[in-house]
Amino acid sequence: MGAVAETHEHDHHGHHDHAGHGYGDNSKLYVHIFRDDLGSKAGMWLFLFTEILLFGGLFFLYFGYRVADPHAFHDAALELNVMLGAVNTIILLTSSLTMVLAIVAIQRNSVKLSLFYLVVTIGCALAFLVNKYFEWSYKIHHGIYPGSEELAMRAKGEITFFGLYYLMTGLHTFHVIVGAIILTVCMVFIMKKHINQDKYIILENSGLYWHLVDLIWIFLFPLFYLLH
């Protein structure tokens, strides 16, 4: 019983997060008295699966509608800006890199470097949002948005394409915003030493979330922008 040495998870050795423990202590109802980094990571992965299936539902719809009218999808896709999409892809891939590097840095106790990489990651997220803003406002300005009269005059497959376009990129953008907020919180935790060289599972789990945001875009990009 007791600590089992595990080389690449930094759990074990019975760390106590709180001073009080057991229920004789009147100050807390129940104290989270043990640490399980691997359990924490496994739980995070399970949460990621829910996100994958959430977007997955939209991908299932895309699959169904694309097969039903590939020509309409093709025509509609021509109206999307490939360059902007590609730039956004590179931005997100880079942000994934800097995310990982932030973790490498904290593993080596380079706190300032870790914070730097997180700033770059968040910066990439903001750049992505700016691009998305321009992309959408251009479309909306030209009357291409759900429920618009312009769109209603198009072929049914095109209406569906743009409906899915706004839904999927919109849901994705929402997750980019949430991710940026999470990473900002991580930065605060690092500055308060709540995340440090010996305990950085929160940063790892946040990184997993961020990589998922990148992964979804990796599939969105070719399916919407590269159909020709």
Binding site: G39, G57, L61
Partner: protein, 566 residues
């Protein structure tokens, strides 16, 4: 055992003993002192046992509400045409009955109450892996429930789409659809968090020496369920979001006028909602194994097959959803495939039923209330399951889809399989949870009424469905009236039986005879073997030790016993 050991990398944890009282006495989890007053100490608890009890109370309230709608619906159906309510109201009633029963009772059901309370103790843990997420699950559940009810009270015409909210009607109806759907979305989150918690807990917090295949089958049932909760629930989450957005912003993904395909919506809906029925039944299967083993005093026949069959049901269960859509306009090819796999998924279930019967064979059987429910459940669930096969066959389904036959089928499996085992679980673990015992005669009376009620209420539905009575219909031809009347009388018997049991149980929680024996049934799983009744905050007074399997009874052999009895 393969080299891949899933038990690697156990976390370390310090076992916390009691409050230092050296006389061996301890403080039960009810009496833990905190800085909060009583109400807040429950509202903000992270103790899995308290959370389980809060679920129990809240869920019972929702069940009674769902039963009220059922009672009124059945009363309305006593005569053709209007009896006590108009058609629009009837539509709202069956919708709300479905939403409340499915999302607020049956899906959280056994896992939220008994899974939360008992599972960590069964595996020798102090709590689940994420106690605060567990509390959040409960809060989300309450929020979702209040929203669903609020939409009825405050929201204009109550939702009338049926709990399945198919498009295009759910896009067009003037009833309030958005708020109940949002409530369902929130409830989905609650379910996901519970599943996530349970998977990690069972991998990480088992007592030393207990492998996955040493866990009691109740825990295995919860484990299998938890995987479905995590993977399937998000799909209905997105479906709900899509229907809401489409209703508000006219996206065009489902609405045929805008190029959408309503059948695709049905696909998305059932990709969750079929696995959801396995979320409902797998915990009940788990309870069944524990109860049957205890009251036959026998090792479960084929333990490993029982565990693996549950995972097989999970797996194959993802391949059958479109059997709800055989008449929707799907391709013939797809219909054949889904029908085939629907039959296939019955195989692991059949394995379980055979193994339970084999466990009973030559066992030392005691007909306690939980055991009565378990035996009744095998009978009732089998009726439900066999009629499911009738529906799974394409030719017969075309005739029976959307008739009362379907209603009879799913109520047999849900009440016969799941609610029966909910009561079994409640009567089985009652002494552990409350340190008291209920009046067994009263409960047995209620149980018998329950059994009779289920059959009188639902069996006529097969007959009238076969003869063409459609479901969700407010009005009907006079030839069906006799069946409706029998059903309605059955509903009275059933509700009376349920109320008798609930009154007995809730009364006994507070005023029942104290049960000093921490293991009155003589069971061998950890919660009986090594935890007091009721347990202390951290479940055990001494560190639990894994010394034997969950069902290692010396097998009862009648010939030998006759010798000893002399």
């Amino acid at each position: 055992m393969s080299d891949i050991s899933l038990d690697m990398n156990k976390s370390s944890r310090d076992f916390q003993h009691g409050d230092g009282n050296t006389k061996g006495e301890f403080v039960t989890f009810y009496d833990v002192k905190t800085k909060y007053g009583t109400f807040m100490s429950w509202l903000f608890t992270t103790d899995h046992k308290r959370i389980g009890l809060m679920y129990l109370f809240t869920m019972t309230g929702f069940l009674l509400l769902g039963l009220t709608f059922a009672f009124l619906m059945r009363f309305e159906m006593l005569t053709p045409g209007e009896t006590i309510i108009d058609a629009q109201t009837y539509n709202s009633y069956f919708t709300l009955h479905g939403i409340i029963m499915v999302f607020l009772f049956i899906i959280p059901g056994i896992p939220a109450v008994f899974g939360n309370f008992i599972m960590p103790i069964q595996i020798g843990a102090e709590d689940v892996s994420f106690p605060r997420l567990n509390l959040m699950s409960y809060h989300l559940y309450v929020l979702g429930g209040l929203m669903a009810l609020g939409s009825v009270v405050f929201g204009g015409i109550p939702v009338d789409t049926g709990w399945t909210f198919y498009v295009p009607y759910s896009l067009r109806t003037g009833a309030d659809v958005v708020v109940p759907l949002l409530a369902a979305f929130i409830l989905g989150f609650s379910s996901i968090l519970t599943g996530l918690n349970f998977v990690v807990t069972m991998h990480r917090l088992r007592v030393k020496g207990m492998g996955m295949f040493d866990m009691p089958l109740f825990s295995w049932g919860l484990y299998a369920t938890a995987w479905i909760q995590v993977i399937a629930t998000p799909v209905i989450g997105i479906t709900i979001v899509l229907v809401i957005l489409e209703r508000v912003f006219k996206f065009g993904v489902f609405d045929p006028n805008l190029g959408g395909d309503p059948v695709l919506m049905q696909h998305l809906f059932w990709i969750y909602s079929h696995p959801a029925v396995y979320i409902m039944i797998l915990p009940a299967f788990g309870v069944m194994s524990d109860v049957i083993a205890t009251f036959s005093k026998r090792q479960i026949y084929g333990y490993k097959a029982m565990a693996i069959s549950m995972m097989a049901i999970v797996f194959v269960g993802y391949m059958v959803w479109a059997h709800h859509m055989f008449t929707s306009g799907m391709s013939d090819f797809a219909r054949a495939i889904f029908s085939f796999f629907t039959f296939l998924v019955g195989v692991p279930t059949g394995v379980k039923i055979f193994n339970w019967v084999a466990t009973l064979w030559r066992g030392s059987i005691r007909i306690t209330v939980p055991m009565f429910f378990a035996l009744a459940s095998i009978f009732l669930f089998s009726i439900g399951g066999l009629t499911g096969l009738v529906l799974g066959a394409l030719a017969t389904d075309v005739h029976l889809h959307d008739t009362y036959f379907v209603v009879g089928h799913f109520h047999y499996v849900i009440l016969g399989g799941i609610l029966t085992m909910f009561f079994a679980a409640f009567h089985y673990w009652f002494p552990k949870m409350f340190g008291r015992m209920y009046n067994q005669k009263v409960s047995m009376g209620g149980a018998i009424m329950y059994f009779i009620g289920v059959n009188v209420l639902y069996f006529p539905m097969f007959i009238m469905g076969y003869n063409g009575m459609p479901r969700r219909y407010y009005d009907y031809l006079p030839e069906f009236q006799i069946y409706h009347q029998i059903s309605t009388v059955g509903s009275w018997i059933l509700i009376a039986g349920i109320l008798i049991m609930f009154i007995n149980l809730f009364y006994s929680m507070f005023k029942g005879r104290e049960e000093r024996n921490p293991n009155p049934w003589g069971a061998l799983t950890l919660e009986w073997d090594q935890a007091p009744s009721p347990p202390p905050l951290l479940n055990f007074t001494e560190e639990p030790v894994f010394t034997h399997g969950p069902y290692d009874y010396p097998d009862y052999k009648p010939e030998e016993n006759k010798e000893e009895a002399k």
